[in-house]
Amino acid sequence: MTATLFFVQVLNGLQLGVLLFLIAAGLTLVFGVMDFINLAHGVQYMLGAYLAVAFYGVVGNFLFALIMALLASLAFGLLLEFLVFRHLYERDHLDQVIATFGIILFLNHAVRMVWGAAPLTLPMPDAFTGSVLLAPGQLYPVWRLVIIASGIAVAGGLYLLVTHTRIGMLVRAGATNARMVSALGVNIKRLFMIVFGFGTMLAGFAGVMIAPIISVEPGMGTNILILAFVVIVIGGIGSIRGAFVAALLIGLVDTLGRSFSIDVLRLVMAPSPARTVGPAIASILIYVLMAIVLFLRPAGLFPARGR
């Protein structure tokens, strides 16, 4: 274990964290502001990736595919909101879970029918295909740096939006007490729709950004959704700041755990059992982290005020 390897792994952790943040931000907004559990958030991430592949197939330009995929994700999110979700806001959480789970099944199959079960790929934009030499032998793909940068930019943008604009103020107020906001004459339905569409678009953005690295396939949103829920629970439901900190924390803990658990265990046990125990410990680390955080701060690291 060297300092450079450690540094590279920190970068890897940041990249995973940023990606998680992009997904969790939308989820925490929808959950926090609307008190709505949207399990279908993961398939919207998948859909973003598929749409980008589809648009890329039409014009062969990444930027165009990205913009079109974002607009299409937004449109599709609003359509879902109009057709399904808005009828569920008043229902209890179990109904929401069942309905949105149904949407997961439906969309996963729909995607398979339209694009087939085989994994698809989205090529990287030409300008970012290279890699930078961080240390002898350690090449780091530029695209991963782009993901980190874009994630941080989105976080900054969201921070400004939520803390320094009128709509952000309404969102914060809505997260604290939606009824009161409605009573003050704000069209809460429209606010919900904006928040929901925006959340969908963020998930779609995450899907497009990761598509050049991983394969685009049905069901790709399912596992990441679980991590996103872990993030928003640790961060405090409804808190963008919490989601950001928690996402980076999870990304780092998971990546560093996977990379160094065996080396650390070798200090205290023989190499062979360390090799067996290491991966097992690494895969539960983030859940241990969640348990500890919830034990010390049951409402998460940065609970939205007034909840």
């Binding site: 060297t2 450079t4 390897l5 590279v8 792994q9 890897n12 952790g13 990249q15 995973l16 398979r112 079960a117 085989a118 994994p119 698809l120 790929t121 890699s131 032998g137 350690q138 090449l139 780091y140 793909p141 695209w143 991963r144 690295i213 991983i214 394969s215 396939e217 049905p218 069901g219 790709m220 596992n223 990546t255 996977r258 990379s259 090799r275 991966p279 895969s283």
Partner: protein
């Protein structure tokens, strides 16, 4: 139709009598994973099998053949239900399938105990190759370990000293690592076990880059492999550290891996460019019919159909005499697409194995091509424990 009385309630006996009564139709149940991400593989196998039936004008062994297709959903319990209904309701004479070894483990007993012949076009787990080999069970693919041994042998022969192994953390992954180590005696710098279904390998790739081995051996099947190969290339390792793999770069994943996989090495019992006349014809037809390059799964299923064809012909369509049928199957009297082919005493193949390399075809599609023969007439190491002669 002869009625099945409760006295004859053994399902197999009923199936047998009714099929004799019908005498005109041959019924084959085909079970594979046809949904979920690994569906690509099952669909290849199904296509291969159906192509063979079509080439034989819908008649295996000269008998009108009906194929019942079932999807095991990669769930052992679902698979058992489906094969039971293939046997009890559809009265099939043969079951062809499955793709995955864990499914094979679940359906082997229900099928063979009903005295129905089970032919695996892909899964070749060690469980039924040794002591528990079964007279009603045949394999047209390989014993799983063999493919990993090909790469171990190649690494050994080409003088590699330090290797890192990366496999998913489950039984097949550990078997793969063990198979590689059977033949490779150099230093294993590290064995990396990743959770099944992992998508991002950045952490593992950084470790590999830091350790600087001569080669990486990987068994990273399906969508996982698509991701790993792309990221391996993106991290700039593909040109520096040889990537040897099994079931990671093949025609089912290459359409997604594309240029990222070019030049990567794998082990196989066949490749689309294998030079036999029957294989040339098969690859051409498959391309025309399905607009895709066939992978081993397709050719092994095609061979399974040829195997049934040869045996049914040998017994003149009299499927009632199971002993004669089994003996005819054992002979493997058909022209396998791979050329040389015969069954070992455990009903697993004895065949050649090759080192293959990913290349781009003239039509822009991708395929694996044979680099060299690593094993000739290679049987698996479990056959000696099998009591069958």
């Amino acid at each position: 139709m002869i009625k099945c009385t409760p006295m004859l309630a053994v399902a197999a006996a009923c199936g047998l009598l009714t099929s004799v009564a019908h005498a005109d139709d041959l019924k084959v149940g085909f079970i594979a994973t046809l949904s979920g991400p690994p569906a690509v593989i099952g669909i290849q196998a199904r296509n291969g099998f159906q192509l063979a039936v079509k080439d034989l004008n819908g008649k295996l062994g000269g008998v009108n053949t009906e194929v019942f297709v079932a999807d095991d959903e990669l769930k052992p319990d679902v698979a058992v239900t489906k094969v039971k209904s293939l046997i009890d309701r559809d009265k099939v004479d043969f079951v062809v399938g499955p793709i995955f070894s864990n499914i094979l483990g679940a359906i082997e007993k229900p099928v063979t105990e009903a005295n129905v012949i089970l032919i695996s076009p892909n899964a070749g787990s060690s469980a039924f190759a040794g002591k528990s080999c079964n007279p009603n069970f045949f394999v047209t693919s390989y014993q799983n370990d063999q493919v990993h041994e090909v790469l171990g042998q190649y690494a050994q022969d080409s003088g590699m000293k330090k290797v890192i192994i990366i496999v998913p953390n489950y039984q097949a992954g550990k078997d793969a690592a063990a198979g590689f180590k059977h033949k490779f005696t150099g230093q294993i710098l590290d064995e990396i076990y990743v959770p099944l279904g992992q998508l991002d390998y950045s952490a593992e790739l950084s470790r590999i880059a830091a350790a600087k081995p001569d080669a990486v051996f990987g068994f990273i099947p399906g969508g996982m492999g698509v991701n790993f190969v792309k990221q391996y290339r993106q991290a700039g390792l593909a040109d520096k550290i040889t990537f040897l793999s099994a079931f990671t770069v093949d025609e089912s994943t290459l359409p997604a891996q594309k240029d990222a996989a070019l030049g990567m090495l794998a082990g196989s019992n066949w490749a689309p460019n294998l030079d036999t006349p029957q294989n040339k014809k098969f690859v051409e037809e498959y391309l025309k019919e399905y607009n895709a390059v066939p992978a081993t799964y397709a050719f092994q299923a095609y061979d399974a159909a040829l195997l049934i064809d040869s045996a049914v012909k040998a017994v003149n369509g009299k499927l009632g005499n199971k002993d004669a049928l089994r003996a005819a199957l054992k002979k493997a009297d058909f022209k396998s697409l791979r050329g040389e082919f015969k069954f070992n005493n455990n009903h697993y193949p004895i065949q050649n194995f090759y080192l293959t390399k990913v290349a781009k075809r003239a039509d822009g599609k991708y395929e694996t091509e044979i680099v060299k023969t690593v094993f000739t007439n290679f049987g698996d190491s479990y056959a000696k424990d099998c009591p069958m002669k």
